[in-house]
Protein backbone atom coordinates (compact mmCIF):
# COMPACT_ATOMS: atom_id res chain seq x y z
CA UNK A 1 0.00 0.00 0.00
CA UNK A 2 1.30 3.38 -0.92
CA UNK A 3 2.35 6.04 1.49
CA UNK A 4 -0.14 8.34 -0.19
CA UNK A 5 -3.10 6.15 0.78
CA UNK A 6 -1.82 5.78 4.32
CA UNK A 7 -1.46 9.51 4.72
CA UNK A 8 -5.06 9.96 3.56
CA UNK A 9 -6.13 7.67 6.37
CA UNK A 10 -4.04 9.64 8.84
CA UNK A 11 -5.62 12.87 7.62
CA UNK A 12 -9.07 11.38 8.10
CA UNK A 13 -8.12 10.49 11.67
CA UNK A 14 -8.13 14.21 12.46
CA UNK A 15 -11.92 14.06 12.15
CA UNK A 16 -12.12 10.96 14.30
CA UNK A 17 -10.01 12.52 17.02
CA UNK A 18 -11.49 15.99 16.81
CA UNK A 19 -15.13 15.01 16.87
CA UNK A 20 -14.58 12.41 19.58
CA UNK A 21 -12.66 14.80 21.81
CA UNK A 22 -15.26 17.55 21.55
CA UNK A 23 -18.14 15.12 22.05
CA UNK A 24 -16.54 13.50 25.07
CA UNK A 25 -16.07 16.90 26.69
CA UNK A 26 -19.60 18.10 25.96
CA UNK A 27 -21.00 14.68 26.85
CA UNK A 28 -19.26 14.84 30.21
CA UNK A 29 -20.90 18.13 31.10
CA UNK A 30 -24.30 16.80 30.09
CA UNK A 31 -23.61 13.59 32.02
CA UNK A 32 -22.86 15.59 35.16
CA UNK A 33 -26.25 17.24 34.92
CA UNK A 34 -27.96 13.95 34.12
CA UNK A 35 -26.40 12.09 36.99
CA UNK A 36 -27.30 14.89 39.38
CA UNK A 37 -30.88 14.62 38.08
CA UNK A 38 -30.83 10.83 38.48
CA UNK A 39 -29.87 11.16 42.12
CA UNK A 40 -32.30 13.95 42.80
CA UNK A 41 -35.22 12.99 44.99
CA UNK A 42 -37.60 14.77 42.64
CA UNK A 43 -39.30 12.67 39.97
CA UNK A 44 -39.60 15.86 37.94
CA UNK A 45 -35.84 15.73 37.35
CA UNK A 46 -35.27 12.01 37.63
CA UNK A 47 -37.82 10.70 35.15
CA UNK A 48 -36.70 12.73 32.13
CA UNK A 49 -33.08 11.84 32.87
CA UNK A 50 -33.98 8.15 33.05
CA UNK A 51 -35.82 8.40 29.77
CA UNK A 52 -32.93 10.23 28.14
CA UNK A 53 -30.50 7.51 29.19
CA UNK A 54 -32.81 4.72 28.14
CA UNK A 55 -33.27 6.27 24.70
CA UNK A 56 -29.68 7.19 23.95
CA UNK A 57 -28.36 3.89 25.25
CA UNK A 58 -31.11 1.90 23.65
CA UNK A 59 -31.23 3.23 20.12
CA UNK A 60 -28.21 2.57 17.89
CA UNK A 61 -25.97 5.60 17.41
CA UNK A 62 -26.31 5.22 13.65
CA UNK A 63 -30.05 5.69 13.94
CA UNK A 64 -29.63 8.61 16.33
CA UNK A 65 -27.35 10.34 13.88
CA UNK A 66 -29.73 9.79 10.98
CA UNK A 67 -32.58 11.15 13.06
CA UNK A 68 -30.69 14.26 14.11
CA UNK A 69 -29.39 14.94 10.64
CA UNK A 70 -32.58 14.23 8.74
CA UNK A 71 -35.42 14.90 11.13
CA UNK A 72 -34.31 18.20 12.66
CA UNK A 73 -34.76 19.93 9.26
CA UNK A 74 -38.44 19.08 9.44
CA UNK A 75 -38.75 21.32 12.47
CA UNK A 76 -36.74 23.99 10.72
CA UNK A 77 -33.28 23.21 12.15
CA UNK A 78 -30.97 22.43 9.27
CA UNK A 79 -27.87 21.46 11.19
CA UNK A 80 -24.56 21.09 9.33
CA UNK A 81 -22.90 17.68 9.31
CA UNK A 82 -20.30 18.41 11.90
CA UNK A 83 -22.84 19.83 14.32
CA UNK A 84 -25.12 16.84 13.81
CA UNK A 85 -22.21 14.50 14.43
CA UNK A 86 -21.18 16.27 17.61
CA UNK A 87 -24.75 16.47 18.91
CA UNK A 88 -25.31 12.75 18.26
CA UNK A 89 -22.06 11.57 19.77
CA UNK A 90 -22.31 13.91 22.78
CA UNK A 91 -25.81 12.80 23.69
CA UNK A 92 -24.95 9.14 23.26
CA UNK A 93 -21.77 9.24 25.33
CA UNK A 94 -23.54 11.42 27.90
CA UNK A 95 -26.01 8.60 28.51
CA UNK A 96 -23.25 6.09 29.21
CA UNK A 97 -21.11 8.51 31.21
CA UNK A 98 -24.11 9.51 33.31
CA UNK A 99 -24.63 5.91 34.39
CA UNK A 100 -20.96 5.66 35.33
CA UNK A 101 -21.04 8.93 37.24
CA UNK A 102 -24.20 7.96 39.07
CA UNK A 103 -22.34 4.97 40.45
CA UNK A 104 -19.51 7.30 41.44
CA UNK A 105 -21.75 9.80 43.19
CA UNK A 106 -23.50 7.03 45.05
CA UNK A 107 -20.19 5.79 46.37
CA UNK A 108 -18.96 9.12 47.70
CA UNK A 109 -18.65 8.31 51.41
CA UNK A 110 -21.50 9.96 53.27
CA UNK A 111 -19.12 11.11 55.97
CA UNK A 112 -17.26 13.37 53.55
CA UNK A 113 -20.50 15.11 52.70
CA UNK A 114 -21.46 15.44 56.35
CA UNK A 115 -18.04 16.94 57.04
CA UNK A 116 -18.79 19.55 54.38
CA UNK A 117 -22.23 20.21 55.87
CA UNK A 118 -20.61 20.75 59.23
CA UNK A 119 -18.34 23.50 57.96
CA UNK A 120 -21.28 25.26 56.33
CA UNK A 121 -21.04 24.38 52.61
CA UNK A 122 -24.12 25.14 50.56
CA UNK A 123 -25.54 22.18 48.57
CA UNK A 124 -23.99 23.60 45.41
CA UNK A 125 -20.58 23.96 47.07
CA UNK A 126 -20.84 20.39 48.33
CA UNK A 127 -21.51 19.25 44.78
CA UNK A 128 -18.73 21.20 43.11
CA UNK A 129 -16.05 21.00 45.77
CA UNK A 130 -16.57 17.54 47.23
CA UNK A 131 -18.89 15.26 45.27
CA UNK A 132 -17.59 15.93 41.76
CA UNK A 133 -13.86 15.55 42.50
CA UNK A 134 -14.39 12.38 44.48
CA UNK A 135 -16.88 10.79 42.09
CA UNK A 136 -14.51 11.61 39.26
CA UNK A 137 -11.70 9.77 41.01
CA UNK A 138 -13.88 6.76 41.60
CA UNK A 139 -15.16 6.57 38.03
CA UNK A 140 -12.08 7.68 36.15
CA UNK A 141 -11.17 4.26 34.73
CA UNK A 142 -14.74 3.67 33.59
CA UNK A 143 -14.84 7.08 31.96
CA UNK A 144 -11.63 6.40 30.07
CA UNK A 145 -13.10 3.12 28.91
CA UNK A 146 -16.18 4.92 27.66
CA UNK A 147 -13.99 7.46 25.88
CA UNK A 148 -12.32 4.64 23.95
CA UNK A 149 -15.69 3.12 23.11
CA UNK A 150 -17.12 6.33 21.74
CA UNK A 151 -13.93 7.01 19.84
CA UNK A 152 -14.43 3.75 18.03
CA UNK A 153 -18.13 4.41 17.51
CA UNK A 154 -17.24 7.67 15.81
CA UNK A 155 -16.93 5.63 12.61
CA UNK A 156 -20.70 5.96 12.40
CA UNK A 157 -20.62 9.73 11.87
CA UNK A 158 -19.90 9.10 8.21
CA UNK A 159 -23.64 8.66 7.88
CA UNK A 160 -24.03 12.41 8.19
CA UNK A 161 -21.32 13.05 5.64
CA UNK A 162 -18.06 13.20 7.56
CA UNK A 163 -15.18 11.24 6.12
CA UNK A 164 -13.39 9.87 9.17
CA UNK A 165 -10.99 6.92 9.27
CA UNK A 166 -13.43 4.09 8.62
CA UNK A 167 -15.26 5.90 5.84
CA UNK A 168 -12.01 6.90 4.22
CA UNK A 169 -10.89 3.30 4.39
CA UNK A 170 -14.11 2.15 2.76
CA UNK A 171 -13.80 4.76 0.02
CA UNK A 172 -10.18 3.86 -0.63
CA UNK A 173 -10.96 0.16 -0.58
CA UNK A 174 -13.67 0.63 -3.17
CA UNK A 175 -11.52 2.59 -5.59
CA UNK A 176 -8.34 0.53 -5.19
CA UNK A 177 -9.99 -2.83 -4.48
CA UNK A 178 -7.30 -3.55 -1.88
CA UNK A 179 -9.52 -3.73 1.22
CA UNK A 180 -7.31 -5.99 3.34
CA UNK A 181 -4.29 -3.70 3.26
CA UNK A 182 -6.37 -0.59 3.78
CA UNK A 183 -8.45 -1.93 6.65
CA UNK A 184 -5.33 -3.28 8.38
CA UNK A 185 -3.81 0.18 8.22
CA UNK A 186 -7.00 1.72 9.58
CA UNK A 187 -6.97 -0.78 12.45
CA UNK A 188 -3.40 0.21 13.25
CA UNK A 189 -4.30 3.89 13.38
CA UNK A 190 -7.23 3.19 15.71
CA UNK A 191 -4.98 1.12 17.90
CA UNK A 192 -2.45 3.91 18.23
CA UNK A 193 -5.13 6.45 19.10
CA UNK A 194 -6.81 4.17 21.64
CA UNK A 195 -3.53 3.33 23.26
CA UNK A 196 -2.69 6.98 23.54
CA UNK A 197 -6.04 7.58 25.25
CA UNK A 198 -5.51 4.66 27.62
CA UNK A 199 -2.02 5.87 28.52
CA UNK A 200 -3.23 9.42 29.02
CA UNK A 201 -6.01 8.01 31.20
CA UNK A 202 -3.60 6.11 33.37
CA UNK A 203 -1.40 9.17 33.70
CA UNK A 204 -4.40 11.34 34.51
CA UNK A 205 -5.57 8.88 37.14
CA UNK A 206 -2.23 8.93 38.85
CA UNK A 207 -1.98 12.69 38.80
CA UNK A 208 -5.44 13.37 40.23
CA UNK A 209 -4.90 15.26 43.51
CA UNK A 210 -4.54 12.99 46.51
CA UNK A 211 -4.23 9.78 44.54
CA UNK A 212 -2.37 7.16 46.54
CA UNK A 213 1.16 7.24 45.17
Amino acid sequence: MSFKLFSLLVQASVWTIGISAISIAIGFLIALGLSAALLSGKALYRKPAEFFISFFRGVPLLVQLLLIYNLLPFIGLNVPSIVAAIIGMSLCTAAYQAENLRGGFESVPKGLIEAADMVGFSPRQVFVRVKVPIALRLTFPALVNEAIMILKSSSLVSVVGIVEITRMAQDLASSTYMPIEIFSSAALIYLVICWAVALAGRFGERSLPGAAK
Binding site: R57, G58, L61, V63, L67, A187, Y190
Partner: protein
Protein backbone atom coordinates in the same frame (compact mmCIF):
# COMPACT_ATOMS: atom_id res chain seq x y z
CA UNK B 1 -42.08 13.13 4.31
CA UNK B 2 -43.21 9.72 3.20
CA UNK B 3 -43.90 7.12 5.85
CA UNK B 4 -45.62 3.92 4.86
CA UNK B 5 -46.26 1.44 7.71
CA UNK B 6 -47.49 -1.16 5.23
CA UNK B 7 -43.88 -1.77 4.24
CA UNK B 8 -43.25 -3.12 7.73
CA UNK B 9 -46.29 -5.39 7.73
CA UNK B 10 -45.45 -6.75 4.32
CA UNK B 11 -42.01 -7.89 5.44
CA UNK B 12 -42.93 -9.03 8.94
CA UNK B 13 -41.62 -12.62 8.54
CA UNK B 14 -38.17 -11.41 7.44
CA UNK B 15 -38.07 -8.86 10.23
CA UNK B 16 -38.89 -11.52 12.79
CA UNK B 17 -36.27 -13.86 11.42
CA UNK B 18 -33.64 -11.06 11.40
CA UNK B 19 -34.49 -10.26 15.01
CA UNK B 20 -34.14 -13.95 15.84
CA UNK B 21 -30.70 -14.18 14.24
CA UNK B 22 -29.54 -11.07 16.09
CA UNK B 23 -30.85 -12.33 19.42
CA UNK B 24 -29.33 -15.78 18.95
CA UNK B 25 -25.90 -14.50 17.91
CA UNK B 26 -25.90 -11.85 20.58
CA UNK B 27 -26.80 -14.20 23.40
CA UNK B 28 -24.48 -16.99 22.24
CA UNK B 29 -21.63 -14.55 21.61
CA UNK B 30 -22.12 -12.99 25.01
CA UNK B 31 -22.16 -16.31 26.87
CA UNK B 32 -19.07 -17.52 25.06
CA UNK B 33 -17.44 -14.14 25.63
CA UNK B 34 -18.15 -14.33 29.35
CA UNK B 35 -16.68 -17.81 29.51
CA UNK B 36 -13.54 -16.97 27.54
CA UNK B 37 -13.21 -13.64 29.31
CA UNK B 38 -13.35 -15.33 32.68
CA UNK B 39 -10.73 -17.87 31.66
CA UNK B 40 -8.47 -15.12 30.34
CA UNK B 41 -8.83 -13.07 33.51
CA UNK B 42 -8.07 -16.15 35.60
CA UNK B 43 -5.02 -17.08 33.54
CA UNK B 44 -3.75 -13.54 33.77
CA UNK B 45 -4.19 -13.55 37.54
CA UNK B 46 -2.52 -16.85 38.28
CA UNK B 47 -0.34 -17.52 35.26
CA UNK B 48 2.55 -15.23 36.08
CA UNK B 49 4.06 -12.58 33.84
CA UNK B 50 4.74 -15.00 30.98
CA UNK B 51 0.99 -15.46 30.53
CA UNK B 52 -0.19 -12.06 31.70
CA UNK B 53 1.83 -9.93 29.29
CA UNK B 54 0.95 -11.61 25.98
CA UNK B 55 -2.70 -11.99 26.95
CA UNK B 56 -2.74 -8.37 28.02
CA UNK B 57 -1.38 -7.40 24.63
CA UNK B 58 -4.07 -9.33 22.78
CA UNK B 59 -6.77 -7.83 24.97
CA UNK B 60 -5.52 -4.33 24.27
CA UNK B 61 -5.42 -4.91 20.52
CA UNK B 62 -8.96 -6.26 20.54
CA UNK B 63 -10.20 -3.37 22.66
CA UNK B 64 -8.29 -0.78 20.67
CA UNK B 65 -9.61 -1.50 17.19
CA UNK B 66 -13.15 -1.27 15.80
CA UNK B 67 -15.14 -4.46 15.62
CA UNK B 68 -16.10 -3.66 12.03
CA UNK B 69 -12.48 -3.80 10.92
CA UNK B 70 -11.68 -6.89 12.97
CA UNK B 71 -14.55 -8.82 11.49
CA UNK B 72 -13.75 -7.64 7.97
CA UNK B 73 -10.13 -8.72 8.29
CA UNK B 74 -11.01 -12.11 9.72
CA UNK B 75 -13.72 -12.91 7.19
CA UNK B 76 -12.24 -11.49 4.01
CA UNK B 77 -8.56 -11.72 5.00
CA UNK B 78 -8.79 -15.10 6.72
CA UNK B 79 -8.85 -17.18 3.52
CA UNK B 80 -5.48 -15.69 2.49
CA UNK B 81 -3.93 -17.30 5.56
CA UNK B 82 -5.96 -20.47 5.30
CA UNK B 83 -8.83 -19.59 7.62
CA UNK B 84 -12.03 -19.74 5.61
CA UNK B 85 -15.07 -19.51 7.81
CA UNK B 86 -18.75 -19.38 6.99
CA UNK B 87 -20.51 -16.13 7.92
CA UNK B 88 -22.39 -17.33 11.00
CA UNK B 89 -19.49 -19.22 12.66
CA UNK B 90 -17.19 -16.33 11.79
CA UNK B 91 -19.64 -13.83 13.25
CA UNK B 92 -20.06 -15.86 16.40
CA UNK B 93 -16.32 -16.32 16.81
CA UNK B 94 -15.66 -12.64 16.17
CA UNK B 95 -18.35 -11.47 18.54
CA UNK B 96 -17.31 -13.77 21.36
CA UNK B 97 -13.60 -12.97 21.09
CA UNK B 98 -14.36 -9.25 21.00
CA UNK B 99 -16.68 -9.65 23.98
CA UNK B 100 -14.12 -11.79 25.81
CA UNK B 101 -11.54 -9.00 25.67
CA UNK B 102 -13.90 -6.64 27.45
CA UNK B 103 -15.31 -9.22 29.84
CA UNK B 104 -11.81 -10.26 30.87
CA UNK B 105 -11.21 -6.71 32.06
CA UNK B 106 -14.47 -6.70 33.99
CA UNK B 107 -13.52 -9.95 35.69
CA UNK B 108 -10.06 -8.64 36.41
CA UNK B 109 -11.63 -5.78 38.33
CA UNK B 110 -13.96 -8.30 39.96
CA UNK B 111 -11.05 -10.39 41.19
CA UNK B 112 -9.38 -7.29 42.55
CA UNK B 113 -12.53 -6.30 44.42
CA UNK B 114 -12.59 -9.36 46.67
CA UNK B 115 -10.62 -8.63 49.84
CA UNK B 116 -7.45 -10.68 49.86
CA UNK B 117 -8.22 -11.78 53.40
CA UNK B 118 -11.21 -13.77 52.15
CA UNK B 119 -8.86 -15.73 49.92
CA UNK B 120 -6.37 -16.20 52.73
CA UNK B 121 -9.14 -17.50 54.98
CA UNK B 122 -9.83 -20.13 52.32
CA UNK B 123 -6.15 -21.00 52.02
CA UNK B 124 -5.83 -21.41 55.78
CA UNK B 125 -8.73 -23.84 55.74
CA UNK B 126 -7.08 -25.88 53.02
CA UNK B 127 -9.30 -24.97 50.07
CA UNK B 128 -7.57 -25.55 46.74
CA UNK B 129 -7.18 -22.72 44.27
CA UNK B 130 -10.06 -23.94 42.13
CA UNK B 131 -12.28 -24.29 45.16
CA UNK B 132 -11.40 -20.76 46.19
CA UNK B 133 -12.29 -19.43 42.75
CA UNK B 134 -15.53 -21.32 42.54
CA UNK B 135 -16.78 -21.03 46.09
CA UNK B 136 -15.43 -17.66 47.19
CA UNK B 137 -14.18 -15.39 44.42
CA UNK B 138 -16.90 -15.93 41.84
CA UNK B 139 -19.94 -15.52 44.06
CA UNK B 140 -18.38 -12.60 45.87
CA UNK B 141 -17.53 -10.64 42.74
CA UNK B 142 -20.92 -11.25 41.13
CA UNK B 143 -22.50 -8.08 42.37
CA UNK B 144 -19.60 -5.88 41.32
CA UNK B 145 -19.32 -7.49 37.92
CA UNK B 146 -22.99 -7.25 37.06
CA UNK B 147 -23.57 -3.56 36.20
CA UNK B 148 -20.64 -3.20 33.79
CA UNK B 149 -21.58 -6.54 32.26
CA UNK B 150 -25.03 -5.27 31.41
CA UNK B 151 -23.50 -2.13 29.94
CA UNK B 152 -21.24 -4.27 27.82
CA UNK B 153 -24.11 -6.49 26.73
CA UNK B 154 -25.88 -3.40 25.41
CA UNK B 155 -22.78 -2.37 23.50
CA UNK B 156 -22.37 -5.87 22.06
CA UNK B 157 -25.95 -5.95 20.85
CA UNK B 158 -25.32 -2.83 18.84
CA UNK B 159 -21.94 -4.04 17.62
CA UNK B 160 -23.61 -7.19 16.32
CA UNK B 161 -25.10 -5.04 13.56
CA UNK B 162 -21.60 -4.92 12.09
CA UNK B 163 -21.97 -8.58 11.14
CA UNK B 164 -24.03 -7.41 8.18
CA UNK B 165 -20.80 -6.78 6.27
CA UNK B 166 -20.03 -10.48 6.31
CA UNK B 167 -23.52 -11.29 5.03
CA UNK B 168 -24.98 -12.60 8.29
CA UNK B 169 -28.74 -12.09 7.89
CA UNK B 170 -29.17 -10.23 11.19
CA UNK B 171 -31.59 -7.48 12.06
CA UNK B 172 -29.79 -4.47 10.62
CA UNK B 173 -28.98 -6.24 7.35
CA UNK B 174 -32.52 -7.47 6.94
CA UNK B 175 -34.19 -4.20 7.73
CA UNK B 176 -31.87 -2.05 5.66
CA UNK B 177 -32.28 -4.46 2.75
CA UNK B 178 -36.02 -4.02 3.01
CA UNK B 179 -35.36 -0.30 3.12
CA UNK B 180 -33.35 -0.22 -0.07
CA UNK B 181 -35.54 -2.72 -1.86
CA UNK B 182 -38.67 -0.70 -1.14
CA UNK B 183 -36.81 2.57 -1.11
CA UNK B 184 -38.33 3.01 2.35
CA UNK B 185 -35.34 4.21 4.34
CA UNK B 186 -37.24 6.19 6.90
CA UNK B 187 -39.44 3.25 7.84
CA UNK B 188 -36.32 1.11 8.16
CA UNK B 189 -34.59 3.52 10.51
CA UNK B 190 -37.68 3.84 12.64
CA UNK B 191 -38.10 0.09 12.88
CA UNK B 192 -34.46 -0.50 13.80
CA UNK B 193 -34.65 2.14 16.50
CA UNK B 194 -37.70 0.58 18.07
CA UNK B 195 -36.56 -3.04 17.98
CA UNK B 196 -33.08 -2.34 19.39
CA UNK B 197 -34.52 -0.09 22.02
CA UNK B 198 -36.94 -2.76 23.18
CA UNK B 199 -34.18 -5.37 23.44
CA UNK B 200 -31.84 -3.01 25.32
CA UNK B 201 -34.54 -1.97 27.72
CA UNK B 202 -35.38 -5.61 28.41
CA UNK B 203 -31.71 -6.40 29.04
CA UNK B 204 -31.29 -3.40 31.31
CA UNK B 205 -34.33 -4.38 33.34
CA UNK B 206 -33.18 -7.95 33.64
CA UNK B 207 -29.80 -6.70 34.85
CA UNK B 208 -31.38 -4.43 37.42
CA UNK B 209 -33.59 -7.27 38.60
CA UNK B 210 -30.62 -9.60 38.99
CA UNK B 211 -28.78 -6.88 40.87
CA UNK B 212 -31.58 -6.36 43.36
CA UNK B 213 -32.01 -10.10 43.78
CA UNK B 214 -28.33 -10.61 44.48
CA UNK B 215 -28.03 -7.69 46.81
CA UNK B 216 -31.08 -8.46 48.91
CA UNK B 217 -30.09 -12.09 49.19
CA UNK B 218 -26.54 -11.31 50.20
CA UNK B 219 -26.67 -8.14 52.18
CA UNK B 220 -29.98 -8.36 53.94
CA UNK B 221 -30.34 -5.42 56.30
CA UNK B 222 -29.26 -6.39 59.76
Amino acid sequence: MIFDPNVILKHLPEIISGTGVTLALWIAGMLLGILIGFIVATLRRYGGRAVDLPLGFVVEVLRGTPFLIQIFLVYYGGPFVGLSLDPVPCGLLGLSVYAAAYYSEIFRAGYASVPHGHVEAGECLGLSRLQIIRRILLPEMALIVLPPSVNLAVILLKESAVLSIITVPELTTTVSAIGSQEYAFLEAIFLLAVIYWVIVEAAARLGRLAETRLSTFRFAAS
